[in-house]
């Protein structure tokens, strides 16, 4: 065990899987000599050579598209898209192909592909470097979506994602790539996809978050604890398929829920979770289900981004609202 940042944990997971399975290949822009713009692939081309760690031309659609062909042929490609905002150029490949290959071929061909991409804001970068449009992909049948919130989580989930027999979009919260250090097991500790994690327990309110937003949520939970309000904090980790059982179990206990995400509010994942709760746990509810989210605007440039993203104060306010309802 050693203390690693999230980006180091990603690097270690890639290292581990490439060591273990010769079919794992990486492709993307600047992932070779440069080691990735965030250094996620640092040292990998030196270790595994340029035919397994491949710098590609600047073509997001072909990065995903060729990875689909590789996966169908029998490799385990892990594609990096430099920022989530550049994934939009590959949407047709993801939606019309990666997510459908198994169905289209009646199971003859599968697509064990991972698309890794940094997501979310807070790194003071130019436009389209702060996207968190996970909802697009949650609304896309046939693809899984994962978003780790800590270094150890990142490693365990990425290992599972690479071994998953179906396409997985792996969203790495760039804001906390280096913000947290945590003990990460040297060995492989797989975290199964599809299972949320209860990070804190309490009977008053259920808080639901994922990725970077888990941290202000935990901070808010801590502040509420001082005021005597006890919260369940759920780290979703897999966003699709959703672990509704864990969510519903908690809300049935607490009767109150606050969902936190960076993404724009309308049709974000928060809506799906709130809708599920209101359908399946209505009678348990003691207060409206609140969403603390980004606004329905584009993420502003760095000078205003901190005003844009949900923060601890807002989460605290929402918790107080549901408690006092």
């Amino acid at each position: 065990m050693s203390k690693l940042t999230l980006i180091q944990a990603v690097n270690q997971a890639l290292h581990h899987e490439m060591e273990k399975d010769a079919n794992v290949v990486l492709l993307g822009e600047d992932i070779g000599r440069d080691g990735g713009v965030f250094r996620a692939t640092d040292g990998l081309v030196e270790r595994f050579g340029p035919s397994r760690v491949v710098d590609t031309p600047l073509s997001e659609s072909a990065i995903v598209g060729t990875a689909i062909g590789m996966a169908a042929y029998g490799l385990r490609p892990v594609a990096e898209i430099q920022f989530m905002g550049f994934l939009y150029g590959a949407m047709e490949q993801l939606i019309s192909h990666a997510a459908r290959l198994r169905t289209r071929s009646r199971g003859r061909y599968t697509c064990p592909l991972v698309v890794r991409t940094p997501y979310g804001g807070g790194i003071h970068a130019p436009e389209l470097h702060s996207e968190s449009t996970e909802a697009f992909f949650i609304h896309t049948p046939g693809i899984k979506v994962v978003a780790p919130s800590t270094p150890a989580e990142a490693k365990g989930l990425l290992l599972s994602a690479i071994r998953d027999p179906d396409p997985v979009l792996f969203l790495e919260p760039s804001r906390i790539y280096r913000a947290i250090k945590e003990e990460v097991p040297e060995d492989e500790v797989l975290i199964p996809l599809g299972e949320a994690r209860l990070v804190a327990e309490g009977e008053d309110v259920t808080l639901i978050a994922w990725g970077a937003m888990l941290h202000p949520t935990l901070e808010a939970a801590a502040r509420m604890l001082e005021k005597g309000v006890h919260t369940d904090v759920i780290d979703l980790r897999t966003l699709s398929p959703l672990d509704s059982a864990t969510i519903l179990r908690s809300v049935e206990k607490t009767g109150r829920a606050v969902i936190v995400h960076e993404a724009a509010r309308s049709c974000g994942l928060g809506a799906e979770i709130a809708a599920e709760i209101c359908e399946k746990a209505l009678l348990s509810l003691k207060a409206p289900v609140l969403r603390v989210t980004g606004y329905d605007t584009s993420v502003p440039l760095p000078k205003s981004e901190n005003d844009y993203f949900p923060d601890c104060d807002q989460i605290v306010e929402a918790i107080e609202q549901v408690v006092q309802f």
């Binding site: 397994r52 073509s59 072909a62 598209g65 062909g69 042929y73 490799l75 019309s96 192909h97 509704s244």
Partner: protein, 364 residues
């Protein structure tokens, strides 16, 4: 030097059997290609896939197929490709390759099922390395490139062929895919069935380039234009390119100039946008006609042989249609069962709800 030529390029035209059915034997790489056995096999294949197509149009008219995309006029290309490919090679077709699919080993029954809107028709049998039909034009090209890349990576001695229409050359994925193939020198052949129309859009509206073959220049590999109604010419070009790919010499782009004799699909009415003169001009260049003329001259192919062949083919087709029509209705639950390797609890619940709904429907 202030002003100088950096590079020069040539785009060539290639044809072995001309419009009149005359062969230029000087360009033949080997006499085997025109052995009676080979040529007859080509012709039989052409007749078979033409008959398949005519039956499909019939079935559609009587409501037993959905929308169907006819291959008429493009049979020479498809027969030539099938003959040039090895069993272990991979094929990534678009949607106008029913003939090629059949010759690769996909049952005709499956093709009828597919065009009838039955997902089971997309199940390619084990041992046939073909991707299923993909409807979004041009977007399957990167998959072919990825498979070629994987083959190169695994040092498999195979080549990949991907086929598409003239319209597909305008899509971004065509560009990105060919560019990757060039950069990584992949074992792949890009074959464009340039039938000069993308639904109602003529070639001149698809590109200002005089040939599509010249698009290969942008990617640093060879492009050639071949007479797509000449089964020998296409066969030689494709075989050469596949062999070069297998030898590690990288990709080739082959433009086959041909013509779509039918409507775009059965949902289309081509008389809205193109002249009967143009079509009848190309009817005279029908690839079947051309090869038959050659066989008549070379081996006195007779009316009698022709009708025996037609008879045999028509029996095969009828058997397939019977198979197709006696297939049990599809179980719609299948759409859940090929979604993921295993279903999440929520998806299982959806599947169960669906099952109940289907059961209820059956009741009354």
């Amino acid at each position: 030097m202030p002003r100088r030529v950096l590079e020069e390029f040539k785009i060539e035209w290639f044809q072995l059997l001309d419009e009149a059915g005359k062969l230029d034997a000087a360009l033949l790489p080997s006499p085997d290609l025109i052995s009676e056995k080979t040529v007859k096999a080509f012709y039989e294949s052409m007749v078979l896939i033409r008959a398949f197509d005519e039956k499909a149009l019939n079935l559609q008219r009587s409501g037993r197929l959905g929308t169907y995309a006819s291959i008429q006029g493009q049979e020479a290309i498809q027969v030539a490709c099938a003959a040039a490919l090895q069993q272990s090679d991979w094929l990534f077709p678009s949607f106008r390759e029913s003939g090629l699919s059949i010759l690769r080993g996909n049952p005709m029954k499956a093709l009828y099922l597919y065009w009838a809107g039955d997902e089971r028709g997309n199940l390619v049998p084990e041992g046939v390395n073909d991707f299923p039909v993909a409807i979004p034009v041009g977007t399957h090209i990167p998959h072919a490139v990825g498979a070629a890349w994987a083959a190169q990576h695994k040092k498999d001695p195979i080549a990949v062929l991907t086929t598409f229409g003239d319209g597909a050359t305008s899509k971004g994925d065509f560009h990105e895919g060919l560019n990757f193939a060039g950069v990584f020198k992949l074992p792949i052949v890009f074959l464009c069935q340039n039938n000069q129309w993308a639904i109602s859009v003529p070639l001149s509206r698809q590109t200002a380039a005089k040939t599509l073959a010249q698009k290969a220049i942008a990617y640093g590999f060879k492009g050639i234009q071949v007479d797509g109604n000449d089964v020998f010419g296409v066969h030689v070009a494709v075989k050469d390119a596949l062999d070069a790919a297998r030898r590690g010499e990288g990709p080739t782009f082959i433009e086959c100039l041909t013509y779509r004799l039918s409507d775009h699909t059965t949902a289309d009415d081509a008389s809205r946008y193109r002249s009967e003169e143009e079509v009848s001009l190309w009817r005279k260049k029908d690839p079947l006609l051309r090869l038959r003329t050659y066989m008549e001259a070379e081996w006195a192919w007779s009316e009698f042989q022709e009708s025996a062949l037609q008879q045999a083919v028509s029996e095969r087709i009828s058997a397939s249609v019977e198979d197709f029509e006696s297939t049990n209705p599809i179980d719609p639950l299948g759409m859940f069962d090929t979604l993921f390797a295993s279903l999440s609890p929520d998806l299982l619940a959806q599947r169960e709800a669906f099952e109940q709904r289907l059961a209820k429907r059956k009741k009354p």
